[in-house]
Symmetry: C3
Subunit: 324 residues, 3 copies
């Protein structure tokens, strides 16, 4: 009987930026252990107001995450009689219900176990998309299958300019992506490019991924983590509430019908406008306008300064002083 | 107490093309006055069959619309106790109901006022998207926040090749776009490009906006209105009923699931096919085919002529003469 | 009275790849006859496990499909009094119900006939999108209107590098696309590019279509069918069940809200993981890993071999031999 790889996440706190290294055993696989650690990391990032961003990279020299631990996927299937599409739908629904009722643990040794595990991974990825924390993947090495899907669940991706690839090879094993690949890659690079890549099973090189928008930057291998931290720090300076509201409006509202999406945006917008922080900053903006006679965003240098620092510089006290 | 900017729209009728100039006060802001005038303009364009297109530009030398009047956004929030996401959702729903019941006026001095105003702006933008009138933004200057969102609500955008920008800086004020920016920009340039731009708060230069499809043309400053009018005239030659049906199918159906979107298209399609104009033109097309022995769209020169004039040239009388 | 063009599809079986040539009469039109033959072809391809892909091309020297037979569209409209959008919606719903109840034949001579025919064409195109069979359009010549919509319903498109075009000219006849053009082109090239092209009625040249992703390859005229067959053979080597599941997840799930789309993916994924073929291949993959000490997809040469053959090479027997 084969040993199950025992994976872990090694987390380092760099003053509000958590840098997590995936240790996925000799084959650098994403299995249940990694899924559990990731869930805990996302929890921590959401609960600790000091955490602004998370950078995730692979501890393996040339792999980010090779792909899912195949036994994890296969085992459940072996225990379940062949069920067809209707049956699979029913299992997916049951797993969702079990996850909501926190029955995951109780069911993990049953045939429903792997489907419940999958449901949990999906919920974790969705929480990354709903969060005010910025997630940056530092792709030090290849990411296939669930490795790629994990990368698509981040907000930004930096990839090493190396002989590595990212993509969805599942079709070549007679299966298909199950960790969101058909959905997130489709929304990232467009329906057709995504369809062709997943039907063929062919991964993207760093240059291809950069050209089609699947990754945001390609840098020399030794700079991948540094560049990812730089992006994490830059985006992490913004208001966490604003980031969360924007991510929810774009990821969820942006994939709905236009009218439904606009409703999502309006509810999120009103929350930020009614917040103490939003109120404070808008009042300050108006005071600065009165004091200087120009809108701050149109005052030379101010917009650039705001982009660098994450917020329009506070001029209220100055303005009040000037105004008196 | 600060004065509220009083804005207006100056509208010039150039034979079916309305050219509207936004006067937004010294700071060129989009406030309640502009919102009211725009609503009236959209009404007029929809009701007057002679109006085929509307070009909107800024009266300010180097601004299209600076952004929203901040006091307008802030005031409502100040009056409402902090409510969280659930409460904000409830306010958004109440505002929608109030707008439908035409209670906007009665509520405008209450804490719900600004949310009702926002709902009204959304309805106006949606009517621009549903209309058979072609809307072209002539971006003579910068457009930030609600200014950019107003531009995204047009069908086409022409931008001056100048030191100006267009985008969504809201995150830098601790808030987020609320006039449709997270939805329309996402559908215009793709989920990821939109997400990154809005999370960072960084606007596009004219070159960037052209490259990513956020604007359709960039021309020297002094030609912006002329080029926009040219596009308005070109697209405005098409059947107003067809334009309306196509816009609804693409903007609304195109953002639904494929099967729902196909249903929207079919209903719109049947309306145009059953219309007197559609029937007349199809009969004429068949007569021309019989008379000349070739399909008009494949007859040398005819397609080019149709693109220029807006409809396949009427050959029925000629064809009938020939056929007798 | 005009003769109705009688069209047909000439189908050649090249060992699992069906090559179908559209004979659309002297004007190469898509009418009811072609619709019926296509429906039968899609049936055959879905029912015969030996059929892996279908290549469709035009028998006409320089047309793929000119456009729809205009009389087919127009006749129904002539018989129906003008009904407006509400009425057209009702007709579309009635046609859908009639098609589901297999009443098409009984209604084909009534005013509802053409709407029922349209509904049938839509169902055929949707079955192409749901199928494990790969559809490749070999665009030997121009494709306008329904001809273009037929091409968008394929999975891949190869176009001749010739003086030909593909697009939606309907607006120039006072109507609009009704065979899915506003929906599939929108999802293929993005909302804005699709909107502008359909509002203007201007088709794409081969170079434009390649640049914006509307076609996948442009080759010299005499190589169009050969290149399409090559693509059909390449993609057709993949597991038919995987291809079907991926197509449904991307085409249907990919156009839903992210959360709904993820649900579609999960149900499709579980089906493939629970299938005998998926189980077999995953077990083999693990055996090969144990036998060689490396994951097959990371073993030099194996991924390239899998891409060429359509599946990760079977090493189970070898591995077992080695392992003993």
């Amino acid at each position: 009987m084969r040993e199950r790889a025992s994976g872990t996440l090694e987390v380092e706190d760099r003053g509000g930026i958590l840098v997590a290294r995936v240790h996925g055993g000799p084959h650098q696989l994403f299995g249940k252990d990694i899924a559990d650690r990731l869930d805990a990391l996302v929890d921590r990032a959401d609960r600790d107001p000091a955490v602004r961003a998370v950078v995730i990279t692979g501890a393996h020299p040339d792999r980010f995450v090779s792909h899912a631990e195949v036994r994890w996927l296969q085992e459940g299937g072996a225990a379940v009689p062949s069920v067809g599409r209707r049956g699979a739908s029913a299992i997916a629904r049951a797993a969702r219900a079990a996850d909501r009722a926190h029955l995951g643990g109780a069911l993990s040794r049953t045939p429903l176990g792997p489907a419940v595990d999958l449901e949990r991974v999906h919920q974790t990825f969705l929480r990354m998309n709903s969060s005010g924390v910025v997630y940056v993947a530092a792709l030090n090495g290849s990411a296939l299958g669930l490795g790629a899907e994990f990368a698509w669940a981040h907000d930004l991706r930096v990839m090493a300019d190396d002989d590595i690839v990212i993509g969805q090879p599942e079709v070549l094993l007679g299966i298909m992506p199950g960790g969101g690949g058909t959905q997130r890659l489709t929304r990232l690079v467009g329906t057709h490019r995504s369809l062709v890549a997943i039907l063929e099973g062919k991964p993207f090189t760093p240059a291809e991924a950069l050209a089609n928008g699947a990754v945001d930057d390609v840098v020399p291998s030794e700079q991948v983590v540094a560049r990812a931290v730089e992006l994490a720090e830059h985006f992490g300076t913004r208001s966490k509430e604003s980031l969360a509201a924007i991510k929810r409006a774009v990821y969820f509202g942006g994939s709905m019908s236009l009218t439904d999406g606009l409703r999502v945006e309006r509810a999120e917008f009103l929350t930020t406008v009614l917040s103490a922080d939003g109120q404070e900053q808008m009042l300050d903006y108006m005071d600065a306008t009165d004091a200087t006679g120009e809108l701050p965003l149109y005052t030379p240098g101010v917009y650039a300064e705001a982009l660098a620092s994450g917020r329009v510089p506070h001029v209220r006290s100055t303005a009040e002083a000037v105004a008196r």
